[in-house]
Symmetry: C2
Subunit: 310 residues, 2 copies
């Protein structure tokens, strides 16, 4: 008997990544396609990718945005022309099988839980620090989906109702501060206030063009002003983690996304501010800050696991 092959596809803003998992959860095949514009073209791409990677025994798809429990993508800010996209129903129809669909943050949480950094944990929060912030919640040994399937939209916790506008239409969302784009924004604010000469030099001399990468580079050179921005950034990351801890009391946070790669710069400030902001820090074990193990494959691996954690 052939061992079961589980297909997972992660639909990203630029590419669709498909993986086949073996029974142990290891990736044994991988293919990618550019993500096209519009719902019809996305379905065609997914059908073609699924055919190219067949045969398989189960299929799951991760998508970026608000996904209902019935597999409808309500909105996806990083995809073109997506609005109430019936991805689950359309794909199930075309492939003549059940297709499990969930949010990419939820998929990443499932992947780290079953095959990555969170193996064996019953209570953790996945925090994906990329351009924005995504997430997923495991509590009491269960992947929590919520009433509609919209749990884990942690990047849109409001940390300052009068704060900077967010592409989501609100103001002061956590991801305006604690993501990659948040770091860039904090750095530009400091640069325009003329406190970041080295960082501005690394950005080519224009304070308005400063990016998170420039701050990281200057901080690695030991530049004090850049380190101050990193500290401020760590404070904002910690604030969100503290609030999640007050609500959910997780044993760990699994940090993923692009920023996790330069975690050595942020970890100490995050931990210091975490202790400073947490309710009753001396009376309890603090959640572990661990790093995601699956990198850019987390969404696809988690999508392949949806059939069993659904």
């Amino acid at each position: 008997m052939t061992p079961p092959r589980r297909l997972g596809i992660d639909v990203g803003g630029t590419k669709c990544l498909g993986v086949i998992l073996d029974p142990s959860g290891a990736v044994i095949e991988e293919q990618r396609r550019p993500t096209p514009n519009g719902p019809d073209a996305i379905i065609d791409t997914l059908v073609e990718l699924a055919a190219a990677m067949g045969p398989w025994d189960s299929i799951g798809v991760g998508v970026p945005g608000l996904v209902t429990r019935g597999g409808v993508l309500r909105a996806a800010p990083n995809l073109v022309d997506i609005n109430n996209f019936q991805v689950g129903a359309l794909l199930s129809g075309r492939l003549a099988t059940t297709v499990h669909v969930d949010n990419d943050g939820t998929c990443a949480a499932a992947a780290e839980w079953k095959t990555g950094a969170a193996r064996g944990l019953d209570d953790f929060v996945m925090v994906t620090l990329g351009t924005g912030i995504g997430g997923g919640v495991i509590a009491g040994g269960t992947l929590i989906r919520g009433a509609n399937g919209f749990t884990g939209e942690i990047g849109h916790m409001v940390v300052d109702p009068d704060g900077p506008p967010c592409p989501c239409g609100r103001r002061g969302c956590w991801e305006r501060y604690a993501s990659g784009s948040g770091l860039g924004r904090l750095a530009r604010e400091a640069a325009v206030a003329k406190r970041l000469s080295r960082v501005v030099a690394l950005a080519g001399g224009d304070a308005e063009r400063v990016r998170g990468e420039d701050v990281q580079a200057a901080a690695r050179e030991g530049d004090a002003d850049a380190l101050q921005v990193i500290d401020l950034f760590g404070r904002w990351v910690a604030l969100g983690l503290v609030n999640l801890t007050n609500v959910l009391d997780p044993e760990a946070f699994i940090l993923g996304g692009g920023l996790a790669a330069s975690a050595d710069l942020y970890l100490a400030p995050i931990q210091r501010w975490f202790t400073h902001l947490l309710y009753a820090p001396d009376l309890r074990p603090h959640p572990t800050l661990a790093f995601a193990q699956l990198g850019e494959r987390a969404g696809a691996v988690g999508a392949a696991l949806l059939a069993e954690v659904h």
Copy 2:
């Protein structure tokens, strides 16, 4: 055969309330004792109360503060001289039976879930708006306790890291804004800024003595300045509910505590601000705002239910 009698005791800052539930969950007996100072006296009081209400078949105790899953009360700001109080072990020893112990907010959530406003719900958050803010989380049909038993400390979500000091030792906790004491503080700030003449008059002419009740009274008279404070208060309540929605996607919030009694004043501003602050408000059903049904008995009723929801 006699039907089982379940005893629940809620240890509050001023009184201990004991109830006996019948099999339907209805309260059939009730007794109260003043809460004494110090752990030994509290244990003596609980043992005496349990004896006076016997015989019973199971016993649970709700306590205010951080309670471990093993029944240790780590800290309780509203009780005197409590620090790592082994209430579960001590009481189990004295009564020679298992005593279930949990946080009073968690107990209130269990009570509303099994016998009150949240019957039949799988995903809701209990929010107790009193002097502070307590809470409890049900997600995926399970009472969530977290790694240590500390879930639902929602009053200590930090909404402004530079905000006013909280008795917990941190700054800008949600309960500094969205609780009964938060309403009083918002009103005093407005009064000192000379915007609340009617409210100050109701408080006896002293802006520093303004309480939440004075704002409520002036708002009921239609005083525009008081209504503005109520609106600001509603904005802060909504901010916390929005953040909980982004994390947990509940189908309802069950609002309890002293402020729920004058909910008619706050409900419209809370709902308006909720829509204003929520991520993607047009793309999803909004959680219901429902009111707790068990009033001051919620903690004791929930304590009596701990044996079965543990």
